[in-house]
Amino acid sequence: MQISIQLNGRKITEDVRPDLLLIDWVREHGCYSVKRGCETSNCGLCTVFLDEKPVLSCSVLAARADGHRVDTLEGLQEEASEFGAFIADQGAEQCGFCNPGMIMNAIALFRENVDPTDDEIREYLAGNLCRCSGYEGQLRGIRAFIEYKKKGGAVCRQ
């Protein structure tokens, strides 16, 4: 079947199998930030934006994304690198495998809520698992980033 998806601003039209998952489709197009982790829709490693909403690409048929916009970390380099620096500053990760999914979902959080409380951060990122850390480093990084924004850092896209 033929689908047409706007991937990171570029329209791609091609034939796919009906059961092809979006994660496989975006990786076939070079978006290797999108990782396959748990295979049970739990870990958040495969987070992409579907029409600007964070979703698990391992659990979406590419066919369902037909006619829609899909963004991966590769398409959000500016926002991602700005925020990612705060995560790195805290040494918040070890292996880094969870990082792209975590950054994607954190960006989604900042777009929805520019000044989240710690509880709101924890709740929003509950679907992003990290097996190296205890999440404290990430939380410190997010807090630091929010403070930076409050003090006039570049404005997050709404």
């Binding site: 079947m1 199998r17 009906p18 059961d19 998952l21 049970t40 829709s41 739990n42 958040g44 987070t47 579907l50 909403k53 964070p54 979703v55 698990l56 391992c58 659990s59 979406v60 048929l61 066919a63 369902r64 037909d66 979902n105 989604a108 709740e123 929003y124 990122l125 509950a126 679907g127 992003n128």
Partner: protein, 273 residues
């Protein structure tokens, strides 16, 4: 691994229904549960283009399209005002935001899953389901039915004033619940719903003699404990990898007691007028 031979984005409910009568064809909702299986689907029927992804507020009810996501329910202010937040409470620990942006209310209720927070919650509201062929029936009746090839088109929540409470226990955050409990106090009386037993949620009516006391907020802690034990005794529990039947039985008493205490808070009158 889920296999799909053909994918059809239905152009009408009639087309979807007709396709769904064929053996091997399946309606796909969020596919989050379906993809965990090794189902071999001939034709996957997608309802995504039928405008069923909206929550419509009418004078006497909310009409929720079957493709509305759990995240939409979580963020819907009016629905959560009506339910005193139990809709949000029931979905907020279901994996993560990314998951809830995909999981649909239609898929959650049509599956009548034992582990369902959503079924437990909506059984405690004045909820009906609109089936394409079967018309509008109470959710409780639908929950008792065997699965068939009808289509759950919409979920209807009546604006019946009442006091609602939702509680769930999980071994670990974002996991399936070990037990869920929802309580309702309205003009018709009081009810308790317990789910993840691990069988699907069931509803137990609370005797009318307790209704007035709960409304007045005058139950003593001892009475609440006794009532919770009476209710828990009517709810069969089972064992699975998350917990044993005895533990669930104990947990039912605890959650129901806490829920009843919450139900009679502020004299049980919140949103009752």
């Amino acid at each position: 691994m889920l296999k799909i031979k053909e994918y059809v984005r239905a152009e009408s409910l009639k087309q979807a229904y007709e396709l769904n009568q064929k053996r091997g064809n399946r309606i796909v909702g969020g596919i989050l549960w379906m993809r965990m299986s090794s189902a071999q689907i001939q034709t996957a029927i997608d309802l995504a283009s039928l405008g069923l992804d909206q929550i419509e507020e009418k004078e006497e009810e909310f009409s929720i399209g079957c493709m509305v996501t759990l995240r939409q329910l979580e963020l819907h202010e009016e629905l959560n005002r009506l339910s005193q937040g139990i809709i949000r409470d029931s979905v907020k620990d279901i994996v993560g935001v990314q998951f809830r942006n995909l999981a649909t209310i239609g898929g959650s209720l049509f599956g009548r899953f034992g582990f369902s927070d959503v079924l437990t919650c909506f059984l405690a509201l004045d909820t009906y389901v609109e089936l394409y062929q079967g018309g509008i029936i109470p959710l409780a009746e639908f929950a008792d039915r065997e699965r068939d090839n009808d289509i759950l088109v919409r979920v209807i929540v009546k604006k019946t004033p009442g006091r609602h409470v939702y509680l769930a226990h999980r071994n670990t955050k974002t996991d399936f619940p070990v037990l869920t409990a929802a309580l309702l106090l309205d003009a018709d009386g009081a009810r308790a719903v317990v789910g993840a037993r691990p069988q699907k949620a069931m509803c137990v009516k609370i005797e009318d003699m307790w209704k007035e006391k709960l409304e007045n907020g005058s139950c003593t802690p001892e009475e609440l404990k006794k009532l919770a034990e009476t209710l828990a005794a009517q709810i069969p529990t089972g064992s699975n990898m998350r917990a044993g039947a005895e533990y669930r039985k104990h947990l039912a008493k605890v959650l129901l007691r806490r829920g009843l205490a919450d139900l009679q808070k502020d004299g049980g009158k919140q949103n009752a007028d």
